[in-house]
């Protein structure tokens, strides 16, 4: 996001989001998924750029660090938000995630 102003949103205690787990956060008009991929935390827009449907309900591949759209199978890289397969071809937004005082915190 290009704005200089960011907001830190507490998501949940770190212990509640194990490897492969995800949590959906609503912030204004945004739906953002926080995903634990093999111990690493990622924040990604919960929207497939192919048809604007929800993305984060799909399967997370922890080895490849990807999430697969449950409707038409586009695979998105959690690190960059870029699709690795069609039918989606435009990236979705990603957001920094960190743990502050044992709480998973999303920066929007």
């Amino acid at each position: 996001m290009s704005t200089d102003e960011t907001t830190k949103i507490p998501v949940c205690p770190a212990s509640e989001l194990g490897p492969g787990d995800r949590r959906i956060i609503e912030h204004g008009d945004w739906l953002i998924a926080v995903i634990n991929c093999d111990g690493q935390l990622f924040g990604i827009e919960d929207r497939c750029s192919h048809d604007d449907g929800p993305l984060a309900e799909g399967e997370v591949n922890q080895a490849d660090c990807t999430v697969e759209c449950p409707r038409h199978g586009s695979i998105f890289d959690l690190r960059t938000g870029r699709p690795k397969t069609l039918p989606a071809f435009q990236p979705v937004k990603t957001f920094p995630v960190e743990i502050i005082d044992d709480t998973i915190t999303l920066e929007v």
Binding site: C69, R71, H72, G73, S74, I75, K84, T85, L86
Partner: protein, 477 residues
């Protein structure tokens, strides 16, 4: 007309229905088959196919995951009527020969005779750079010109490619059409077998076409080939496929997946002359990516099958990429050709054109279904869609479903559609020049499809005209 001529003409007309059987619709005995799976689809069948082919674990897992996707997806309710397909009444894997031969003399005799009758070895000698011949589920013959091989061109069947070029295949596999794209793509991904793998290295121009020929022989058979073409930077290739099957009273299913990656500056032309017998459901997913300055062309001729649903797609993802779809559909009695095109302009200054021609007669139904999309950020795009339909009688049907989505204000889009009927005035004019009613009608149809046939290599244009003339026989009167 003299009596002898009338008799000859009548004989010709009466012989029309049997012509497909004679030319393409014959069947061979299934003697000497290496394996024929029982009818029906299950986890066991999918595992068996993978084990039979001695595939790596990742492919077996890909198949099983795809099977789940197939089972979880409903049969599409839009488009042609697919409710009559009984997915449990199909043989999903039939191996006619134990190996892929590089010499026709090593191909089992019945199968070789079939391809001889279809003229494949002869065409290979005359004007092709390479040939793949698939019979039932697997490729039985594959050969590529030695010069091309020396230049690094790979043209082989998909099963061999998985064994010999696994790294490159895996890099691109299902990236253009993921298994969950649609129900039929999921089915293909679960039970795929055969098809072509084409890799053209940077800068290599393949001057003569590569051809694959697909033949179904068994009754209630499902053929699920999978083709992947990778054209590296500034390369050029033309791939042609043809297909036929015996005429049976029960239905067969053909459901292919074709993925194409056109790297920057490359050009790929993919030509299909589809002439399945009229008991085949032809449900195919074809999609290409065109990167910067690349050109992708689909030339898609649908003459046969009971129902076809096929919409070749091009994703123009690099600046100045160009895409073209030329489509002919011919729907006769009992046929529904639901064909079209999909073009997505995903980058600036991309251009595209779609020319679709359909002909309906004897109660046949042709549908043009198209999507043209200009994505946000794809500025300076140009596209033109022309779809023309010709109706030869009152009981035939033509539908057009064009969808256009524009995400940029400076896109230049054109859409033209016409529906015409062969009118008495046209026939009268030509007949006043001495043509018979039938010849006049043929001439009108040939003129109608000429913009597409002129894009085919001469041998195929002649064949297509001949096939359409056959379909036209007896259409007047």
């Amino acid at each position: 007309m003299a009596t002898a001529e009338i008799l000859a003409e009548k004989k010709k007309v009466q012989g029309i229905n049997s012509d497909y059987t004679e030319k393409f619709g014959f069947s061979d005995p299934e003697t000497g088959y290496a394996y024929k799976a029982p009818k029906g689809l299950s986890r066991e069948i999918v595992e068996q196919i993978s084990e039979y082919k001695q595939e790596p674990d990742w492919m077996r897992e890909f198949r099983l995951k795809s099977l789940e996707m197939f089972e979880n997806r409903p049969t599409p309710k839009w488009g042609a009527d697919l409710d009559q397909i009984d997915f449990d009444d199909i043989h999903y894997f039939v191996r006619a020969s134990e190996k892929v031969s590089q010499d026709w003399s090593e191909v089992p005799e019945d199968i070789k005779n079939t391809f001889d009758r279809l003229g494949i070895p002869e065409a290979e000698q005359k004007f092709l750079s390479g040939v793949g011949a698939q019979y039932e589920s697997e490729v039985v013959y594959h050969q590529v010109n030695e010069k091309l091989e020396a230049q690094g061109v790979i043209f082989t069947d998909m099963d061999t490619a998985l064994r010999e070029h696994e790294d490159i295949l895996r890099e691109y596999w299902a990236t253009v059409i993921p298994p969950n794209d649609n129900k039929l793509a999921a089915l293909n991904s679960a039970v795929w077998s055969g098809g072509s793998f084409v890799y053209v290295p940077k800068g290599v121009k393949v001057e003569m076409p590569l051809q694959a020929y697909f033949r179904i022989n068994t009754e209630n058979m499902g053929q699920f080939e999978r083709t992947l073409i990778i054209a590296e930077e500034d390369s050029d290739v033309h791939y042609i496929e043809g297909c036929t099957a015996p005429t049976y009273s029960t239905d067969s299913l053909h459901s292919a997946v074709v993925e194409i990656v056109c790297k920057p500056g490359s050009r790929v032309r993919y030509t299909t002359v589809q002439n399945w017998s009229q008991n085949v459901y032809n449900l195919v997913t074809k999609r290409a990516i065109a990167q910067e300055r690349a050109t992708m062309e689909w030339v898609d001729c649908n003459l046969g099958s009971k129902i076809t649903m096929k919409y070749p797609s091009i994703y123009l993802l690099g600046e100045e990429a160009h895409g073209e779809v030329l489509s002919i559909a011919f729907a006769g009695e009992g046929q529904h050709q639901d064909a079209g095109a999909k073009i997505v302009h995903g980058a600036p200054n991309t251009t595209s054109s779609v020319f679709s021609k359909s002909i309906s007669k004897d109660g046949g139904r042709s549908t043009y279904r198209g999507l043209l999309e200009v994505a946000d950020g794809a500025t300076g795009t140009k596209s033109k869609v022309v779809c023309d339909a010709l109706l030869l009688d009152e009981k035939s049907q033509s539908d057009t479903y064009p969808t256009i989505r524009i995400g940029e204000s400076d896109a230049d889009m054109g859409h033209e559609a016409t529906v015409s009927k062969v009118g008495d005035d046209m026939l009268f004019y030509l007949m006043s020049r001495g043509l018979s009613e039938e010849d006049a009608s043929k001439m009108i149809v040939n003129g109608f499809i000429e913009p597409v046939t002129k894009e085919l290599p001469m041998e195929y244009a002649v064949e297509l005209n001949r096939l359409i003339e056959l379909q036209m026989e007896g259409s007047i009167g």
